[in-house]
Symmetry: none
Subunit: 122 residues, 4 copies
């Protein structure tokens, strides 16, 4: 898994890291048990502070994506299929909500929006 970070982006760095890993876990790209690289490695490679990485890891652990085994490092947490599906749905649903609200406010109708999505998905 390749992590990347854009310091000029307005979304906080720790959030960028969180999103990348959470998505990867939810999509199945990172199966349960996969070890994550040590914090200091990530920190060095991305050029961000260890505290920032740590804060993303903490949040991921709090939300059940990661498990920390002291002394051995961090691993992707096991997650039930139904739970996984629920989280995917939640995230998607709120993202779609935001888009639809936006489109309505701009006076764009359903078909135009769907057509646009079709285009972008290629």
């Amino acid at each position: 898994m390749r992590l990347s970070v854009n310091p000029n982006d307005k979304t906080p760095i720790y959030r960028q890291l969180y999103e990348q890993i959470a998505s990867e876990v939810l999509s199945g790209g990172l199966p349960a048990g996969t070890p994550l690289p040590p914090i200091r490695t990530v920190s060095r490679e991305l050029g961000v502070s260890m505290i920032t990485v740590r804060s993303a890891w903490d949040m991921l652990e709090r939300d059940g994506y990661l498990l920390t085994r002291t002394g051995s490092g961090c691993f992707v947490a096991p997650i039930s299929e139904t739970h996984r599906q629920t989280k995917v749905d939640e995230r998607l649903s709120s993202a779609v909500d935001a888009l639809v609200t936006d489109a309505k406010a701009l006076g764009v109708d359903k078909d135009a929006l769907i057509a646009l999505i079709g285009e972008k998905y290629r």
Copy 2:
């Protein structure tokens, strides 16, 4: 035009105001020349500081949605139809981009996403 503000939302108040008015202008709901209510009035009615409102108005003026005439008030700026269309497309396009990127990262395919949009649009 009804403005509203949600102080619990994490997006800053001035941004919420900006979005509402910009959308209204872009959708044609507020034609060029329409006077906006005075800052003090908006401030009082929404229960936010005058400076917060001004901050939104400032951004709107910088982005060409408003004209302000000191002493007379603020007015919706004239905007060419092509320019309007361009801005609508830009906003929509970037919103769709974000969603599609998200959906792909979560491993959701095109049809599922479009189905979801259809549902929400009702």
Copy 3:
């Protein structure tokens, strides 16, 4: 003399009027004794408040460009040739100062600036 006003301009309307008339007087376009149109006429034709026009006229009188004869209206004031020349020089000098300061700050050299002036003057 044709007066005009741009309400969207950031420079105040009364100042726009002031500048137009003062320049006209200094350049000799409006010789001493020329009557100015009544305030109410200017106000109506330009679509600005009488108070605004009045305020420009006041300033022009204070600066010696106009004389008010109550009951007959306003007239261009007589001005000695040396005085006129002094005022022209002052205005020009400060305008040039501003430009030169700007150009220097932008790292533009003298010849480039003069060349640009030559172009614009056509």
Copy 4:
């Protein structure tokens, strides 16, 4: 880079700051990536409110001169050479336009104006 502020000047303080930094960036005096002093420092040293400084910084960011990274500070934004040149030309051009319009209105001819520029440039 030395910032300074003249409270007697009629141009707002935040605009004075904006002009100084924008000019410095455009003239190449502040290369991309240069960190700016923290807002609080500038505020303290110049004796103006933090909000006034931020107001200038905001405009500079909107106009692409600055990048701000919350938690780290503000940095001069990268700018392509062609873009830089375009902006320099724009600024100079509008400044020259204003002067030439003024000079014409005062009845000053081209040679006199150029001579004056030559003098001031020493």
